[in-house]
Amino acid sequence: MTVKHAELTQEIQRQAKELLASGEVAAFLGFSAGSLPMTTRPFVARTPQEAERLVWNSFCTVNLANYLPALLKSLEPPRSPKDPPPTGPLPKVGVLATGCWSRNIVVQIQENQVDRSRLVILGVPSRGMVDRKKVLAALQGKEVLEAQEDDHSLRLKGKWGETELSRWAVVRDNCQSCRHPNPVLFDRLLDAASERQAQAPFSQIEAIEAMSSDERWQWFQQAFASCIRCYACRNACPLCYCSTCFVDDNRPQWVGKALNAPDVLTFHILRAFHCAGRCTDCGACESVCPMGIKVRLLTQKLSKDILTLFGAEAGMDVSVPPPFTTYAPSDQNPFECDTCSSKGKKE
């Protein structure tokens, strides 16, 4: 049985206060309460008092790793682009990390986006986060005015009265299919390790793979038809740190910028491929999408392929390089194209 979220909140506040008071960290990255039921805000505490605002609950759906590079940089002494990088120890950041977020931190370390020595990682074994959109669907769109969570249920109140839902039934798809709820990299672990492990992590993907190619094309068009190109999915993703994303480039312009279907689909398929071998299935992209699009199915398909083809999972171990960043002349390359029947070299 995991420690209740209320107890975790207390523990997080206590440890964050201690880290800030002792000066070990200059900032602590966590969540504070949101203004609406079932929401939280990514929040940076800079004083022990501010740490009292930290919370932990089932609605912490945004990936905190996304904020780390900018937060670390903001704590460095100001310098102009031509100045040499600062030397000597720099201020540290305390951060909460579930299984997937800790794996994103590993990827960030591997890709030189964050410096491990400047992090104090407080690991939190995850119980799975709740999907607000699933709750809304279960209530047929009725507005929730109050949400209370117990260990295994959610009690939702509104003008219609009160409804109790099983918590697990409204947990996010990516959390339901998660095999690594426990942090892989941490300085302190705040709770006993979770024993849950999804039995069929790729069942959603297998259902799509089972379709004919025409059906899949239909599915793809349908699934992204309501996209408004707000880029919340991209911007919530800790992998998407390019200073200019290919969709924002306009000289040359790689892809049209409005809602014409080929452009929307190009954006999504390319973004997914840019995340191949790096995505930890944290589900932030899907959680932040205002239109309820199942964005992560694309990246999850690639995770499945990477696991099948290379036996690799992103961010499990800092010392194991990601599959797409290594090259050896002896690499297998049994590539055969069905369409043009060109053959790759087999070695």
Binding site: T39, R41, F43, L136, K257, A258, P290, G292
Partner: protein
Amino acid sequence: MKIRINDHQLIQWIQGLITKFQVFYPLQDANSGVVHIQKATGSLNSDAILKPVSGVPKTSIKTFFMPQPEVIARFSIAAQDAEAFVLKEPGTALQTQVLLNIRPCDARSVALNSMPYAEDPYFQKMLKRTVIIGRPCDETCSTCFCELVGGSPHGTEGMDLVILKTEDGLALEVLTQKGADFLKQNPCAESAGLQPTPQQQGGQELPIVAREMQKKDLLALYNASFWPQIAEACINCGACTFLCPTCYCFDIQDEVAGTKGVRLRYWDSCMFPLFTLHASGHNPRGQKVQRVRNRFMHKFKYFPDRFGPVSCVGCGRCVKDCPVNIDIREVISLMQAV
């Protein structure tokens, strides 16, 4: 002027409109519970028309006035074409479109957007072709704050016609000449000869928040200490501005396929990196905090200074769908306290 109508007459009227025009109305998706504005087809959902779900649909009606994207010109790049690179009218046929069951906040957004777009030919064309049939709110949502920003759950600004609930059924009221003309050509029940209800003359009084903001020193607001805290969690996405009915920024691009080109106008957002990016590479809003500040400063200071009202109708969409719960109501209070 208004007339009484019953449920049956309303549905019949709309059935008739569908055969002649493109009619759009908010409809709830049975699986997700989310309300979207949908095109009405033969199989009309009468319940959704008679008893619309309270609150606003997911996306606003701005797409009917600022299509995403809109073709504003066509051109050819064929070398042998004598008129290569000459911009031509797009030649898109613009038929009447009817927006049904539109909430007061969304209708009011059209009136507000008409201020900066008073001389914009594209917006004005769209305005002319659109008939807005409004529907006041019997019930509000916790995220609604229309009254704070100068609207009302029973407001009619921006509507041509409005469907009202009376003690013993429904009523249809005519608000504009456009509405009267539309009804003349497409009568509903005993609507023959209905004239617009005289509207309040000489501009409505500005809401307190607009008058307060007008009085404030621009630089004091601009340099307020709270902007970095507000911006810290923001991921600079376009969820707030794209869902917002009163965000009207656009950008223009040419797209060419073969020898044919189109000039497209499409939505932009002050949250995006290309917004106000200069050709030199410099961007006066290059940092997140500057972008976030611009969104609120534009809505609550620059716009009221220029046009009077604040550029927000209080629909609460940005509050509901900001991925990191940046709540505009809190930002308004902070700005008011400066």
